[in-house]
């Protein structure tokens, strides 16, 4: 236990609760700056980890845009991944919940960490099976900019981090939003 504790102590906090709140606030303002009309805009959060971020960005925006209802859906990309039959375990999908037409809409895809870009690629393919949006933007909380395997870049970024391959970034949300944070693990600690 002591050893695990000692190693966990080495985790680095990239964004603590206060800094994360500022970042969410700023991201909402950036979206607000680019999109004054929200009637044709929809947020699509990528399952599973983009959903928690999406809800909070939406809550921030709804404070700014009081008179307009902003559409929000969740998209699971499991069936579109490019590593099916290439990994030991089969990934169990999460729920897709898009109760509106995306045809002609301005879409903002949301995920917590942009790493290799493969999830976003899957997300774009999955999204286009629901219709033809007018255009699609990408919002991420963390951009691991030197880890990309596909040419994918975000339009809105919370924090850009330069971490090595065997390090992992994890965004932790608490139910009551009192201790949200972003932390950096090394790979062996991630396994624990």
């Amino acid at each position: 236990m002591l050893a695990i504790f000692a190693r966990r102590m080495k985790n680095k906090t990239l964004l603590d609760h206060t800094a994360l709140n500022y970042t969410l606030h700023r991201l909402a303002y950036e979206v607000y700056e680019q999109h004054t009309d929200f009637s044709n805009l929809a947020f699509i959060s990528l399952q599973p980890r983009g959903v928690a971020l999406g809800k909070r960005i939406l809550a921030e925006l709804e404070r700014l845009v009081k008179d307009q209802k902003i559409l929000h859906g969740a998209l699971d990309v499991t069936f579109y991944r490019d590593d099916f039959r290439r990994r030991e375990e089969v990934l169990v999908p999460s729920t897709t919940d898009i109760e509106f037409s995306i045809e002609g809409k301005e879409i903002i895809l949301i995920d917590d960490v942009l790493y290799t870009g493969r999830t976003v690629r899957s997300g774009l393919d999955a999204l286009l099976d629901f219709g033809r949006p007018k255009h699609v933007e990408l919002l991420v909380l963390i951009d691991r900019r030197f880890s990309r395997e596909l040419p994918v870049q975000p339009d809105y970024t919370g924090r850009t981090v330069d971490v090595v391959r065997d390090e992992r970034v994890k965004v932790e949300w608490t139910d009551d939003d009192t201790n949200n944070r972003v932390i950096l693990f090394s790979e062996d600690q991630w396994a624990h």
């Binding site: 499991t78 579109y80 099916f84 089969v90 999908p93 099976d129």
Partner: protein, 312 residues
């Protein structure tokens, strides 16, 4: 993450409750997929599946083929009437020839019980049983239980009755295994001549009186009389069978059964095991079963394909 405990789906007897729950959870997602504008996902785009049917089938074959195509698999169809089987080729040789053409999975229906088990021991690919004689029809049992779960929530403690030709039915045996694994109580009802011996050893009570059986159950799964499998006469006439074991609205009304669920694996012989108006009534979930069949088969194919490895 989730992985099935088995490489093949040969029968419900071989799968665990966890496997069944995993298939249902995955099927929930596929049900959402098949209600989208584009009812297709690319998961199995590098997988080739052979549907080998040594026995006639309409809905099962169609349902599997749709499931495969909606997963973007390449599909080859093969039926016994147009095959080399008629020229004396063995089952293993036939399938190995098909596999030599780089087929990854086989969906097979065969008139002989155990044909899929036999095949699984001799060929190197994932095999899905689409019905082997009067033995098992696992995907039908899965879609039946899935459709029931959709209506009832948990099947724990639910009373489920299977009525009709139990002796010749692969659906009955797979349903018994599946429903019992999910915690339901299963009983069967039919003429004594159409009830297999030793069925009680599976923990299934046999009831010979339809009125008593219907009064007991929450769900009635009405099976077809499989005349094509009957080599002798098991009952005097279809008319007499229908009078004794046919489900009618009058019987439900007399028993005051207002919330019974009626199922049928198809094809229905209207006016024999069930009256036409009941088959189309508010009690019936027959068309839900057909819709769910595609989603459940997509889940089975997806999860089994996930256990095969892509060629590098």
């Amino acid at each position: 993450m989730g992985t099935l405990s088995t490489k093949h789906l040969l029968g419900i007897k071989d799968v665990t409750r966890e496997d069944i729950e995993l298939i249902f959870k995955t099927a929930d997602n596929f049900k959402e997929v098949i209600n989208r504008p584009i009812k297709k996902v690319p998961s199995l785009r590098d997988v080739t599946i052979a549907n080998i049917f040594f026995e006639n089938s309409t809905r099962t074959k169609l349902s599997f083929e749709l499931a495969e195509k909606r997963l973007s698999a390449d599909v080859v169809n093969f039926s016994a009437s147009s095959s080399s089987v008629k020229k004396g080729e063995t089952l293993v040789d036939t399938v190995n020839n098909i596999l030599a053409m780089k087929v990854d999975m086989v969906v097979m229906r065969h008139p002989n019980p155990g044909a899929c088990v036999h095949l699984s021991r001799h060929v190197d690919c994932s095999i899905i049983n689409a019905g082997d004689g009067a033995h098992e029809h696992p995907t039908q049992a899965l879609l039946d239980a899935y459709s029931l779960r959709e209506k009832l929530g948990s099947l724990e403690g639910k009373k489920i009755l299977i009525v009709g030709d139990i002796l010749h039915s692969r659906v009955a045996l797979s349903n018994i295994f599946c429903l019992q694994k999910l915690g339901a109580e299963v009983r069967v009802c039919g003429p004594a001549t159409l009830i297999p011996k030793h069925l009680e050893e599976l923990g299934v009570k046999v009831m010979l009186n339809l009125r008593e059986a219907i009064a007991w159950c929450d769900v009635a799964n009405m099976l077809r009389i499989q005349l094509e499998r009957q080599d002798i006469h098991y009952f005097p006439s279809l008319r007499e069978y229908s009078m004794q074991y046919g489900l009618t609205r009058q019987l439900l009304d007399e028993l005051g059964k207002k919330d019974i669920i009626i199922m049928h694996p198809g094809p229905i012989n209207r006016g024999v095991e069930i009256t036409s108006d009941l088959a189309d009534s508010e009690y019936s979930i027959i068309l839900n079963q057909v819709e769910n069949g595609v989603a459940v088969r997509m889940a089975v194919l997806y999860l089994l394909a996930g256990k095969t490895k892509a060629s590098s």
